[in-house]
């Protein structure tokens, strides 16, 4: 599951790499993907954990790096959601809060006796008070960020946000369960079902996040491809007519508008003469796509009054 989550984030991060230079929410969301993939790399998904941890002294330091990167990823994602909701960039207070939390959970990590590399570091040392503090601060902040993200996303209407919301609920729940589990361990209880629920919930949440966020670039590429094909079919079908698409005014057109212009011309032609079967087919295909591109209701019946100036 960790490997699947890593691959999903890594592929998405590579696919969206140009977003890094976009600025604003585009950059923040790409940073979230990159740090998220980094965090999952540190779990030992690609390089075995003993080797990875060995590079840093073999005292489970990768666990801290993993959690710092995960905190950064979730913070960047929360800031993306906030920026999309309010238009506001991360505030100084939020930045200080982030640094404060990372420092706060790093201190108990360095104070505890961490022993040699352990595949299940947190669960192996769960009855240690310092570990409880380290993991609880981290998990508590993750749960808090998930709530903030859900609040920031509450007005977003696009369907892929359902997956993102569900992912946030899963990860938030996993974090709270983990705190309860670790607290129980400190007091000598071991509710394993609670501990065992962490991985499916947390990594399942990451996969849902990736699915929701991945929808947007994939949908755009699929749509552009379909519109390009529709445009080619229209151009080929219209080759017998006077088509006026590629004049100098339209060099910057989007693929949707290029296809739209061709479709308008062919549909106009169809009003005065019978279209060939191939023309009709290409126009029907373009119609299916263009109907999704026009920002108008299903039935175009509406009215507007001019504003009366006082």
């Amino acid at each position: 599951m960790e490997l699947a989550a890593f691959l999903a984030l890594a592929v998405l991060a590579v696919l969206r790499l140009p977003a890094l230079s976009r600025g604003g929410a585009g950059t923040l969301s790409e940073l979230a993907l990159l740090t998220g993939a980094g965090a999952l790399f540190m779990v030992g998904t690609v390089v075995p954990l003993p080797i990875l941890d060995g590079w840093f002294g073999g005292t489970n330091v990768v666990n801290l790096m993993q959690n710092v990167l995960a905190t950064l990823a979730i913070w960047f994602m929360t800031m993306t959601a906030k920026l999309m909701a309010t238009g506001g960039l991360p505030a100084r207070r939020e930045l200080l809060e982030l640094v404060g939390v990372i420092v706060s959970f790093s201190i108990p990590f360095f104070l505890m006796d961490r022993g040699d590399t352990h595949q299940q570091f947190i669960w192996a040392y769960a009855d240690d008070g310092w570990l409880w503090l380290y993991a609880s601060i981290y998990m508590g902040y993750v749960a808090y960020l998930m709530v903030r993200m859900l609040v920031a996303l509450r007005h977003r209407e696009a369907r892929p946000y359902m997956a993102v919301r569900l992912g946030a609920i899963f990860m938030g729940t996993a974090s709270v369960f983990e705190i309860i589990y670790l607290t129980a361990r400190v007091f000598g209880y071991a509710p394993e079902w609670l501990g065992d629920s962490f991985i499916p919930l947390f990594y399942g949440g990451i996969l849902l996040f990736a699915a929701g966020l991945g929808w947007f670039p994939l949908a755009r590429k699929a749509r552009d491809l379909a519109l390009t094909i529709a445009g080619s079919l229209l151009r080929r079908a219209s080759s017998g007519h006077q088509v006026i698409l590629d004049d100098e005014d339209h060099s910057t057109d989007s693929v949707a508008h290029r296809t739209y212009r061709l479709a308008v011309q062919l549909a106009d032609f169809g009003n005065t003469a019978e279209l060939t079967p191939s023309e009709q087919r290409s126009l029907r295909f373009a119609t299916r796509l263009l109907n999704l591109q026009v920002p108008a209701p299903q039935i175009i019946r509406m009215s507007a009054e001019p504003k009366v100036l006082a």
Binding site: P217, T272, T287, Q293, P306
Partner: protein
């Protein structure tokens, strides 16, 4: 009647200038455009899909009366094509084209202007009316200006439903 373009360059300049004045946001909805056009023209604007194939080459028309413009589009057309006809008719309005009560293309649609009304219609009797323009023919120039402006509007408005989300996450 508003001044009409006398050359292709002037037509391009004029429509770009009018388009700029509308201040339309990328991805704006038709409802938003309608509000802008109502404000700019000071008229109530209503759109109704009516008619069918009996309209022949007429895909849309606008009936102008005191304080109101009624845009009629051919109901049998696909939504995107109705949308284009609406843009074309709204373009006539913002370009301050005045219609003519005896427009032949209006008669083709079976809609006649009443006293006090004028009418402009988008007729596709010619498909190249956007670029091949007889600048001595006022009606042809009006059609070419409206078509050019409607394409500028479409270029700005067309796009996915959740453009803002895609701009960030796409």
């Amino acid at each position: 009647m508003s001044d009409l373009s006398r050359s292709a360059d002037e037509l391009r300049r004029r429509t770009a200038e009018v388009f700029g004045r509308l201040g339309l946001q990328r991805g704006a909805s038709l409802a938003a455009l309608l509000g802008v056009v109502a404000d700019v023209t000071g008229r109530r604007i209503a759109i109704d899909p009516v008619g069918g194939r009996e309209w022949e080459t007429v895909t849309g028309l606008v009936v102008l009366s005191e304080g109101e413009a009624r845009v009629l589009v051919r109901k049998s057309d696909p939504r995107w094509y109705q949308f284009h006809s609406v843009l074309h008719e709204l373009a006539h309005l913002v370009l301050e084209h005045t219609g003519c009560s005896s427009l032949p293309s209006g008669r083709r649609a079976g809609v006649s202007a009443r006293p006090g009304q004028t009418m402009l219609a988008r007729s596709t009797a010619r498909t190249d009316f956007e670029v091949v323009v007889d600048f001595d023919d006022a009606e042809a120039v009006q059609e070419a200006e409206a078509e050019k402006l409607s394409q500028l509007l479409a270029q700005t408005m067309l796009g996915p439903k959740h453009l803002a989300d895609e701009a960030v996450l796409g």
